[in-house]
């Protein structure tokens, strides 16, 4: 097609918009993080409380991703391959976490698992299991907000591959477990990997829900995103930018990994 001025104008508008809204601001965070050379980064890496926050964040994210992957792949298989009453409702409800405010997520968990007045909280604390203001609560909040991500990647792939390969495996003598491990899992592998990468990015970065349920105790339940807020509000902008930079780095890496592996799937 012939190049038209309209095409260049559109291109310019889009590039300009994305530059001003995303590219430039993100670049500035990197620049601010290294405004004093490596000092900011070294500063946070030498602070044991911040290191604790980073480690906690990574631990929580990994647990959340494992839970969401197992649950997500399982529920995707059920949704695509089986028929049961209430399937449509369940399918719609599974998307809820994407559109619920993280603060509401936190509130909802506090109302049920809060140690003092929650529905189940006092009973759980009675048997020595504290959820809110403790790691289990942070994990639950993180699992909640990232819940649909694996499902959303795996369901379309399962629909796309159909079940003929699985039927062929069954007719060749494979049982359900063998069929899943040898045929289904390799076929949905990339979908699962995207889901995991996206969930990991989302889990590392959760802020609002964690803020409500964690209690934000320095050196105990404070996570990396809470550190960013705390540092900024306490006028340690260098520390805030450095921590934000580390988080942004993970996010960017996640997107790049996804965009690199995605086209391969089509081949």
């Amino acid at each position: 097609m012939a190049k038209r001025p309209g095409r260049y104008a559109l291109r310019l508008v889009v590039v300009g918009y994305l530059f001003l809204l995303v590219a430039w601001p993100v670049y500035l965070v990197g620049k601010n993080a290294f405004a004093d050379g490596m000092e900011n980064i070294n500063g946070i890496l030498e602070d044991p409380d911040i290191v604790h926050a980073l480690v906690l964040t990574v631990q929580v994210a990994i647990i959340a991703v494992i839970i969401n992957t197992v649950f997500g792949v399982g529920i995707s298989m059920l949704l695509v391959r089986y028929q049961f009453p209430g399937k449509r409702l369940l399918s719609a409800l599974l998307d809820m976490p994407l559109s619920v405010s993280p603060i509401v997520v936190g509130l909802a968990l506090v109302l049920v698992y809060g140690g003092r007045t929650g529905w189940f909280g006092p009973a759980l604390e009675g048997i020595g299991f504290q959820v809110i203001f403790s790691t289990p609560g942070i994990v639950m909040a993180t699992v909640f907000v990232a819940l649909p991500l694996v499902i959303r990647e795996v369901v379309p792939v399962l629909e796309e591959i159909g079940d003929e390969q699985e039927q062929a495996a069954r007719s060749l003598g494979a049982n359900a477990v063998q069929t899943f491990r040898r045929i289904t899992l390799p076929a949905i592998k990339w979908g699962v990997i995207y889901g995991v990468v996206l969930s990991l990015a989302r889990s590392l970065g959760e802020f609002g829900a964690v803020k409500v349920v964690s209690g934000n105790v320095l050196g105990e339940t404070r996570t990396a995103t809470l550190v960013v807020e705390e540092k900024y509000l306490n006028f340690d902008k260098g520390g805030a930018y450095a921590t934000a930079f580390l988080l942004a780095l993970v996010a960017v890496a996640a997107i790049i990994i996804v965009s690199v592996i995605r086209p391969k799937e089509d081949r």
Binding site: E164, Q165, Q167, A168, L172, R182, P186, A187
Partner: protein
Amino acid sequence: MSIEIANVTKRFGGFVALDDVSVSIPSGQLTALLGPSGGGKSTLLRIIAGLEQADSGRVTIEGLDATNLPPQKRNVGFVFQHYAAFKHLSVRRNVAFGLEIRKRPKDEVRARVDELLALVHLRQFADRLPSQLSGGQRQRMALARALAVEPTVLLLDEPFGALDAKVRKELRDWLRRLHDEVNVTTVFVTHDQEEALEVADEIVVINEGRVEQIGSPDELYDQPANDFVMRFLGPVTQLGQQLVRPHDLQIHTGTADPAAVTGRITRVTRIGFEIRVEVTTADQIVTVTLTRNEFLSLGVQTGDTVQVQVAEQVHIGAAYPQTLGAA
């Protein structure tokens, strides 16, 4: 009898796919389930394989009641229309799948797979992925995969449906020869009457969830049980009240005769060696097919008045004597 299907009924919601079907499929033969799309033939095949459960009725495979057996316990080979190739496994691993599941020794698997790949002419492609094969090659791989486990019966669901006309014809011949070589009881589903007539020892015609007729290709073609089977197995035209095959009609230019119908040639079409003549009679258009030589020796052309009648040597089954009248 190898496969006994007794009073099988299957519904999908309100749709009746199979309505009290009973069929016996003989051992060692190549049987075709023939019928129009949506007539229930694939459902029947899937019920034999255990991929679908019948609502009622029994399925017996080589004397063993298989009605409630899951597919992996039936020892049937199933070949899908769209190949169902395991995309992430090489051709070799695809064929070896069933044997690996059965935990056969590595050497044995290797030998058996080599043997099968040779049988389906895919030895040089053993290490390719299915995506690097053509449709015909993929289907041959699927066949080898199904045969690897030495199934009691081999079931093929429209095996050539997704292939183009030429490859389809080649594979059809090849399937016939392969069957004569390995001699496993084989059932294949097709909606292509030519395919069924050419390949099968026995044909089961299925329509609207019911068996219309069972018989050898000759029996079905020459002695169709009803109009549906007659229409489905080949071209038909109407002469008066009779349903006949166009190539069973004769044209002559002699004087009117009580066994013949008078008409005028309104159209002549040549398709290769065959000439299709349309004769318009008082109340209908009759199609007659002639060989080119027959047509030339008649010396007629469009606009001529001719007599049309059923050829004398034609045997017409007693199934519909009411239409035989003049013959």
